[in-house]
């Protein structure tokens, strides 16, 4: 069963940026793209256990703060060395100015 979890107000995430969101013992990274769409992935890099929320968002890419591994945060795809395992992504919706992610 999947449920929608309320993350934050839409304006709490800057354009082309990312925030950390923790829920039920798990950590997520929630993104706002330059085109104003919202996305969510697992919070930690698949290379080492480092949180992506300190990373840099450029277009569709989140770059890990630790060793600059790159992922497409819309698809979760790992974009090459040192990261080779994709990120899990989660559905996101915006409702009444609030951002929700679908977990479970």
């Amino acid at each position: 069963m999947s449920i929608w979890i309320d993350v934050c107000d839409k304006d709490e995430i800057d354009e082309e940026d990312v925030i950390r969101f923790d829920h039920d013992g798990k950590s997520y990274a929630v993104y706002r793209s330059p085109e104003d769409s919202f996305h969510a992935t697992d919070g930690h890099c698949t290379h080492e256990n480092v949180h992506l929320a300190d990373g840099l968002v450029m277009d569709d890419i989140i770059e890990c703060p630790k060793h600059n591994g790159r992922f497409n945060y819309k698809t979760g795809q790992a974009k090459g060395a040192p990261v080779c395992v994709n990120l899990k992504t989660y559905a996101v919706k915006v409702d009444g100015g609030r951002v929700f992610i679908q977990v479970g």
Binding site: V50, H51, D54, K66
Partner: protein, 406 residues
Amino acid sequence: MGDRGMVIVGAGEAGVRAAFALRERGYQGTVTLIGDEPHLPYERPPLSKAGEEAETVRAIVANERFAEAGITFLRGQRAISLDPARHALLLEAGETLSYERLLLATGAAPRQFPGIATSDRIHVLRTVEDASAIRRQMREDGRLAILGGGFIGLELAAMGRKLGTAITLFEAQPRVLMRGVPEKLALALQARHVAEGVELLCGVGIETIADGESGVAIGFADGRQIKADALVVGIGAEPNTRLAAEAGLAIDNGIAVDRHLATSDPHIFAAGDCCSFPVAAYGGRRVRLESWRNAQEQGSVAAANMLGEAAPFDAVPWFWSDQYDLTLQVAGLSDGATSTVGRTLSPEAEILFHLDADGRLLAASGLGRGGAVARDIRLAEMLIARGTCPDRAALADPSVKLKSLL
């Protein structure tokens, strides 16, 4: 191209990246990767960082990826001589390989203290074997001496303290990290080591090192003596240039390559810790770096050029170091800087920007917990690559997004 195939000597970060990059670029001929270590290629940075024991050997790629990509990986084999005129490489086992293009990615070897050999108690750190030998000396009731306040020495000190080992670290210079790290951040790191209980002695000259059954005795110029169960020598590394030098390739603090990473023989390239190269962003100044990302990026550019492209290597130097919960990141080269602007992100996270007389950003160094400085350092790297002269007030103000200066 493709009759004689591509051969890569050295299965470290640079060599492995190059092998896969050749395939990613669609190369169909044979790719042979030769590595003299008995292991699957592994990452070196974790060897000096306090992780779980199991974490200290992290493979760069899974074994099956070589077969999938059609890369012949000759594990545990050493290349012993090279004949550029015949495009031939001789392996220790007796086999001769010919190549269309050759990449030398032989890395570097730790410098030893003059006159002192490694033993059960005296170590250097480069390989997984070195790392496990040092780990065995990190006991709760033990004392480890570390010679050299460079990255490896400091990271090992942090690892030792985490495991409860008493650490004495000596550095001949007046402070740690004299090369490449600004004084303010180096002193902050020093203070943290002292707070963690590291006995730190800077500006001391070593006279004697005596290795005996019961431990190592280190004698200083001022007559003091220190005893420890073991000693790690962390005084830098020398590029592995023998193969290249004996083949007559140009050497200049490493295998000398041009901006396309070609050696003095146009069919032979070099990448990673073993080579020195001109850095475009700094007027073509020749440097040799020992940096993980540099090795990967050079591996990838070398692969492109082995396939006939003319891709210049123009990445801005970048490296990081982890000590305790602190991460240091440096982008660029600060030599030639005439002024510094500080940006305080939090009481525990600070960035220093180094500018030249024209206000051009040359380098940025940051120290903070976890990923605190990462984003700004990455953006600084982009500003450096573009040759920007950013507004000093904007650099100093943490509420101004560096992205807006791009």
